[in-house]
């Protein structure tokens, strides 16, 4: 893989990101709704206030001009200013980022930690009892929406058993071990819900990928050389089977940033997802634009990383 290839890919990113930003911006501009709508229906606020605010935040300018302002500000590292909260969009995003990374990141790790061993084991003994059970659970896992499993967990662990809190609080006042324990306690349910949901889909993927590889001739050769079964699986099968899995996981990484709207809402996790949904509901376009654009950038970047990883893991794939 050549350096030229990476540079070319990076250059292509620029027009595609510009294109994405134009589409996002015009969609938001075309969408009905106005951040100061609430003022219009409030008899106590005279219409002049609304007009003054619109002028102040530049909402009366034509769309292309607003886009230009946004783009030039972004070049200088300014993500915009929230209409609703009256603070910088970057501050709002940074406030939510740590929680999102911890909760969604942990659920991704859980998904991988569950999916890989289960998927590999299921594939090495296809149609065995274990495979059947794993398959059944995987199907149940990704058929049940997170809002359902979330509510079931709340009913069982918070309300019936009273073991876990169901309102996530980012500011635990305890210190030392207590602090970590409280955080773990409140994260268990959201992480389980998200991790198992994603893990279920991943199990199916790992299983089929391992099944593809396990039938190949070189695996038979390895076995006939007398290498132990465990070694065959870990050294020869899994290593090759995981190449597509790695790409899949890399492509899922932007999700870690953009959060999980539904799950965050159920457990009141103050992550990026809940920021996005509340901003959408209040027509706070700069925040919506900020969050969606960051996600778009991450998708593009992780696509590139996946491409590069692929070539590195499997030298048979050549880039020109």
């Amino acid at each position: 893989m050549s350096r030229q290839y990476v540079i070319r890919k990076l250059l292509i990113m620029i027009p595609s990101l510009l294109g994405i930003s134009v589409v996002l911006f015009s969609l938001l501009a075309l969408a009905p709704g106005d951040p100061f709508d609430e003022l219009a229906t409030n008899p106590a606020v005279p219409p002049e206030v609304r007009a003054a605010l619109r002028a102040k935040f530049g909402l009366d300018d034509p769309v292309w001009m607003r886009y230009w302002h946004w783009l030039t500000a972004l070049m200088q590292g300014d993500w915009g200013f929230s209409f609703v909260s009256r603070m910088d969009v970057s501050t709002l995003i940074m406030q939510r980022l740590p929680v999102t990374l911890v909760v969604i990141g942990a659920s991704q790790i859980l998904a991988i930690a569950v999916a890989i061993p289960v998927g590999v084991l299921a594939a090495t003994r296809p149609y065995s009892l274990f495979d059947q059970i794993a398959n059944t659970f995987a199907f149940i896992g990704f058929s049940l929406p997170t809002f359902f499993t979330g509510l079931v967990l709340i009913l069982v662990f918070s309300i019936q058993l009273d073991w876990l809190p169901f309102v996530y609080r980012a500011d635990i006042s305890a210190t030392g071990w207590q602090f970590y324990w409280e955080h773990i306690k409140q994260s268990i349910m959201p992480v389980m819900v998200l991790g198992l949901f994603q893990g279920a889909a991943l199990v199916r993927f790992v299983r089929s990928s391992v099944l593809d590889v396990i039938r190949l001739d070189y695996v038979t050769t390895a076995r006939s050389k007398g290498i132990g079964e465990r070694k065959v699986i870990t050294r020869h099968v899994v290593r090759n089977a995981l190449i597509p899995v790695v790409t899949l996981v890399a492509l899922q990484m932007p999700i870690v940033f953009s959060g999980a709207v539904v799950t965050e809402q159920i457990f009141r996790v103050p992550g990026i997802g809940s920021l996005l949904i509340t901003s959408m509901l209040s027509n706070d376009t700069p925040v919506v634009m900020g969050v969606t654009f960051v996600s778009a950038c991450l998708v593009v970047i992780f696509n590139l990383i996946a491409d590069i990883l692929y070539g590195w893991l499997d030298p048979r794939i050549a880039y020109r």
Partner: protein
């Protein structure tokens, strides 16, 4: 009871011939509640008995954390920019007004030393001047003293159009001046009966001059204190994450002795109303949850756990049915429902009478709203002194049939009544919301029995309540025959609320449908009554005029009251708090405490 009788009684109390208690009992006998009665006495110059404080703790602090759950968290903490109750409630943890509205719609002093009255010289006889005496020895959270300069500054800040404060309407038409370090006057251009607007209640919270003076006008958005409030309130700011969390710690120098009780306060946002109710009523994770728009059946089930209970606070919000007076189906000068038209069938008073008989308020309360929606026919029902007793609820399909038959509306082959080729067919719109669709069904069913065909229409709330001039489905355009929604009454004075019935407020193309009179009813009599209330300085006469205006609208079936929409909150069993329907939920946070 007529106004004259009332005056006779008040005179007796003043002369000492009748005790306060005797007066209150006499009023109860005619259906006026105790709070309303004492308000009448107060406004007539008989001093009010201070309601005994129920605050028990004998020292400041020691109460541990107070955990509040708002399912929509505050997004900003400058009270002059707080648009919704969530932002006002959040700001109220740190900021206070001069006076606040208690549950009965009476004023309770906060930063004022006393409530201005005629007797203490606070209110001038001509209704043009209010003199506020400020409490002395109050300090901002940063230690600076609170003085008259701060009060005057808030007026300058809010009235400046460049600041774009949402509170501007309360401040732009008054003149505020400093008399001395602890006295300010508010002057009006014309006699103003409802004087308690600027510096009072939800829009009266005061911000410190020394931190905002440099950020008046166009620079208002850059003030660092916008996000880090420094107020006079019972709790001091600690941290704020918009939409998620507001936290505060006890103010050790709070201006009321032994208050507040809690060491810290946190207001958590996000999620939905049902799970918020759960977190208080069922698991007890939180102490208080706000605005629970949840079916009463679910609330009652959650309450059974015994950890918390639901508190229902009467206010002025009313779910009501509007009948269009103009013709929504004909376009005149490029405008549907123009003032130049008359509704083809609803303009017949007999049809209106019949419609009113077909609204089954009782069933709507019993089967849909429960405790969260007591039935009423009035449009104006709160505070209690404004409630008319002249509009009993009557649901009677036979009588409706009778009236229509007599008026010449005959049933056709399809069972729908018609007269002169015009059929009684109505389109009835409201926003998408389960209780509303159920209510629509109940009314449609009854109407069908009377030979009136109703087509139901439901519009997404974000469209129905928007101000989008281009959209035909907004509630202010009212391009159909009947519609239903809830209107709120932010203050215990019905001045704005009753604009619904004055001719000059009709929502038309000319005012971009911003007028408050949605039915576009034109009545010289109603206009005259409203004008009277604007100039009437005698509170008793003013109450009487508002009641008459309400009766006029209800008895002409311009609108039909369906249910009251009180505030619904959940709190843990041990928490003692007073919630007012006329002010923010957190209006009296300094007095909240828990039983040991």
């Amino acid at each position: 009871m007529k106004e004259r009788d009332l005056r006779g009684l008040i005179g007796k109390v003043k002369a000492g011939k009748l005790s306060r208690r005797g007066f209150v009992q006499a009023m109860m006998a005619v259906g006026i509640g105790a709070p309303a009665a004492s308000q009448i006495l107060l406004s007539s110059g008989v001093a009010m008995a201070q309601s005994p404080s129920t605050y028990k703790p004998t020292k400041r602090g020691g109460g541990g954390p107070l955990k509040l759950l708002w399912w929509q968290g505050p997004t900003l903490l400058n009270p002059h920019f707080a648009v919704g109750t969530k932002d006002q409630d959040g700001s109220r943890l740190f900021y206070e007004p001069l006076a606040a509205w208690d549950p009965d719609g009476n004023l309770k002093p906060k930063l004022a030393a006393e409530i201005p009255t005629k007797e203490n010289g606070g209110l001038s006889a001509d209704g043009l001047t209010v003199t506020w005496k400020l409490k002395q020895g109050v300090t901002w959270h940063d230690g600076k003293p609170f003085t008259a300069d701060d009060v005057v500054f808030n007026w300058e800040y809010a009235k400046d159009p460049a600041t774009a404060a949402y509170t501007i309407a309360s401040y732009q038409d008054v003149m505020v001046a400093k008399v001395d370090q602890y006295t300010v006057t508010v002057k009006f251009k014309k006699p103003t009966p409802f004087w308690a607007d600027a510096f009072v209640g939800t829009r009266g919270m005061l911000i410190p001059k020394h931190l905002f003076a440099d950020y008046i006008g166009a620079k208002s958005r850059d003030a660092p204190t916008n996000l880090k409030p420094v107020g006079t309130g019972p709790y001091m700011f600690k941290d704020f994450k918009p939409g998620d969390l507001v936290t505060g710690v006890m103010n050790p120098n709070y201006h009321q002795a032994n208050k507040p009780y809690f060491d810290t306060v946190e207001l958590k946002g996000g999620g939905d109303a049902v799970s918020a109710a759960r977190a208080v009523l069922q698991t007890g994770e939180f102490d208080f949850a706000w605005n629970l728009q949840v079916e009463d059946e679910i609330l009652s089930r959650l309450e059974k756990g015994g950890k918390g209970n639901v508190s229902v606070t009467p206010g002025g919000s009313i779910e009501f049915l509007l009948m269009n007076t103009t013709d929504p189906w004909t376009e005149v000068d490029g405008e549907r429902a123009s003032l130049k038209t008359k509704h083809p069938t609803l303009s017949d008073p007999e049809v209106r009478k019949a419609m009113a008989l077909l609204v089954d308020n009782k069933s709507i309360q019993d089967h849909i709203y429960g405790r969260t929606g007591p039935a009423t026919r009035n449009f104006l029902y709160g505070p209690a002194r404004f409630e008319s007793k002249n509009n009993p609820i009557e649901f009677n399909v036979d009588k409706a049939n009778d009236i229509l038959e007599k008026a010449g509306w005959k049933k056709g082959a399809d069972g729908i009544r018609a007269k002169d080729g015009k059929k009684l067919k109505f389109v009835y719109q409201t926003s998408i919301n389960q209780p509303r669709q159920k209510t629509q069904a109940i009314i449609k069913q009854a109407a069908q029995k009377a030979g009136i065909d109703i087509e139901l229409k439901s519009v997404t709330a974000s469209v129905f309540f928007s101000s989008d001039v281009a959209n035909p489905d907004t509630y202010t355009k009212f391009y159909c025959d009947l519609e239903m929604y809830t209107t709120t009454m932010g203050q215990p004075d019905p001045g704005t609320h009753m604009l619904q019935f004055v001719s000059w407020e009709a929502a038309t193309k000319e005012n971009k449908w911003q007028g408050r009179n949605i039915t576009r009813w034109q009545s010289p009599e109603a206009d005259k009554l409203y004008r009277e209330t604007e100039a009437e300085l005698d509170p008793v006469k003013r109450v009487a005029s508002f009641i008459k205006l309400n009766d006029l609208a209800i008895q002409n079936q311009v609108v039909i009251g369906i249910v009251q929409r009180p505030g619904v909150a959940a709190r843990t069993v041990k928490l003692n708090c007073t919630i007012s329907g006329w002010d923010n939920n957190t209006w009296d946070l300094s007095d909240w405490f828990k039983d040991a």
